[in-house]
């Protein structure tokens, strides 16, 4: 029996696993007919999910937490049992602004702390308060940008202007001079670099080496009522993710994503993020960033509850939600490792033994306790060396000065 499933997505490279699941037969093999619904704003993606026009969505992880906490229009309990990728973001700034930063772009990207301080110094020299595009208030991009700027003493709500605009309009807005730079998922940063409008200033992978990015979100009630369909979809996705991670398939995958029905951008731009060959300045040789965007390895799809709580900690930090124990519980419950375990119980996917971990504590690849198979976690450090202990959120919040 074939089950039809509608999943909303935004035209971004990190929709790859869903696209591969549909186009390369992984969904079909699990008896699922996937209908991928292209959407151009996060608001519309959210509405289609919350009001039941689609059964699942390719969602910004912080947005899934925010919708559940009632911070983004109609509150709805969402369940995210699967991470579609980690990493994949890039901050680009107009070439004039970037001229005030380290000129060697490879060195600039390799040293986010130094670049943050250069950036802070460049703000005062710029002709206006720098206007930086972010795709959504509740995006990993916005949260990472805030974290990075604040490390150099920049108050993201006072010293710069964060302007929300959809990824597909970022390049146009650069051209019109409405923004001085932006942070977005690929291929939009690469598109601005290629157009000669901007240079890469920071990449997500260097700010948080394993940064939580998009999740597959369901309405919690729907996921509870349809466990068999959810499980089959997750099994299809882990196979699709392994296929997406395989370098042998990157050219094919970039070609699939380039189609008008998906990202609708040139395949060679899309391939940069997949292969981790990042062109930081137009015309220069690519810089190798092998962890630029991950889909499968190191149990990437596993929804660590500690990562939902890290997101929560940042929402509290920036005054977007009040800190209280009931909200902590609600935020942590958005990520659903229990569903992931159930769905993949009989598969060969290495399964972490725990559902929470310290975030930012792994410096070198580390073999960890796994219920099955070999599981190695990649380095997951934050560039400032902080470690997030999900059991000690209060201390973590207190460590950010000045308190807001």
């Amino acid at each position: 029996m074939t089950t039809s499933l509608r999943i909303a997505f935004l035209p971004l490279t990190d929709a790859a696993v869903l696209v591969a699941a549909r186009e390369r037969g992984f969904a079909e093999a699990e008896g699922i007919a996937l209908d991928l619904v292209r959407t151009t704003s996060w608001a519309t993606l959210r509405d289609r999910l919350v009001y039941g026009q689609v059964q699942a969505a390719h969602m910004l992880a912080p947005l899934a937490v925010a919708v559940t906490l009632g911070l983004s229009q109609q509150p709805a309990a969402l369940a995210a049992p699967y991470k579609l990728n980690v990493n994949g973001n890039m901050l680009v700034m107009t070439c004039d602004f970037a001229a005030a930063l380290e000129p060697d772009v490879a060195a600039r990207l390799a040293d986010p702390l130094g670049t943050a301080h250069d950036f802070a110094a460049a703000i005062g020299l710029w002709r206006r308060k720098p206007v930086i595009g972010v795709v959504h208030r509740f995006s990993s991009h916005a949260i990472m940008l805030r974290y990075w700027l604040a490390s150099a003493g920049v108050d993201p709500d006072r010293d710069v202007v964060l302007r929300v605009l959809p990824p597909s309009l970022t390049v146009e807005a650069m051209q019109a001079g409405e923004i001085d730079g932006f942070i977005a998922g690929e291929p939009w940063g690469s598109a601005a670099v290629e157009a000669g409008l901007a240079e890469a200033v920071a990449i997500g992978e260097r700010i948080w080496r394993r940064g939580v990015e998009k999740v597959l979100a369901f309405r919690e009630a729907w996921a509870e009522e349809n466990p068999d369909t959810v499980d089959r979809l997750l099994r299809a996705l882990v196979r699709a993710a392994a296929w997406c991670d395989d370098t042998a398939n990157h050219a094919d995958l970039a070609g699939l994503l380039a189609a008008p029905a998906y990202v609708d951008q040139p395949a060679d731009l899309i391939a940069r993020a997949l292969s981790g060959q990042i062109v930081a300045r137009a015309g220069e040789a690519p810089i190798a960033s092998p962890d630029f965007m991950l889909f499968a390895r190191e149990a990437t799809p596993f929804p660590w509850r500690s990562q939902a709580l890290w997101i929560y900690s940042q929402l509290v930090r920036w005054g977007m939600v009040d800190h209280d124990p009931a909200t902590v519980t609600k935020a942590a419950a958005v990520f659903r490792p229990d569903i992931f375990r159930r769905a993949l119980a009989d598969s060969d996917v290495p399964m972490p033994g725990a559902s929470m971990k310290l975030e930012g504590a792994v410096g070198m690849p580390l073999a960890v306790g796994s219920r099955r198979g070999e599981l190695t976690l990649g380095p997951d450090r934050f560039f400032d060396g902080r470690v997030f202990d999900p059991e000690r959120i209060d201390e973590f919040l207190a460590s950010f000065a000045p308190p807001r």
Binding site: T40, S41, D47, S72
Partner: protein, 193 residues
């Protein structure tokens, strides 16, 4: 009640505005979602904002609704969350509605219903127009292919068409696809018209 329509398609916005005016609403403004549109919107202090669900600028609008200090009252999406059928119909039609806090749902519902009807009517009109355009361009392609066959194989118009049709049937394709292939092949062989 001040209603602002944010829409990229001038035609759809006009269709909606006309409907609202006929229904007796007279404080209606159309704002295209470009440049500093949120600043304009803020100054207008609308009671209801109607926006195309497909517009990529919805995130920009919602951010303004969160951070604006100029708006006297909060504005949130839809108004009566209990009316699932209405919200479903609005989403199907591609309408999103933001309503100022405190506006009674009896006052908003007719506006939303009207917007849904007009959006649907506009979508139908658009698809009919698209169909008509496609039909016209198909006809032109088939005519060109026919005249190639008529010239090169000395066929009558009727026979040329019959040949195209049987080729299409044999290959399981549309006539227009076969016609296009014939034109392309003819151009490559330098025997075009």
């Amino acid at each position: 009640m001040r209603i602002v329509i944010i829409d990229d398609s001038g035609l759809r916005a006009t269709v909606l505005e006309e409907g609202l005016r006929e229904a007796g609403y007279d404080d209606i403004h159309i704002v295209p979602p470009r440049g500093a549109f949120v600043a304009r919107l803020e100054r207008m202090a609308p009671d209801v904002v109607l926006m195309d669900l497909g517009s990529p600028s919805r995130d920009t609008l919602e951010e303004m609704l969160i951070v604006s200090r100029a708006l006297a009252k909060p504005i949130a999406m839809f108004v009566d969350q209990s009316d699932d059928a209405m919200i479903g119909a609005a989403i199907d039609a591609g309408v999103s509605a933001y309503v100022v806090d405190g506006l009674r749902k009896e006052r908003v519902k007719p506006v939303l219903e009207l917007a849904v009807r007009r959006f649907n009517a506009f979508a139908k009109m658009q698809s009919e127009l698209d169909e008509a355009r496609t039909a016209l361009s198909d006809r032109k392609i088939i005519d060109r292919a026919k005249s190639i066959l008529m010239n090169q194989r000395s066929l009558s118009e009727q026979d040329a068409y019959a040949l195209l049709r049987s080729a299409a049937m044999n290959q399981g394709k549309k006539i227009v696809e076969v016609a296009q292939a014939l034109i392309t092949a003819s151009e490559l062989l330098g025997g075009g018209l």
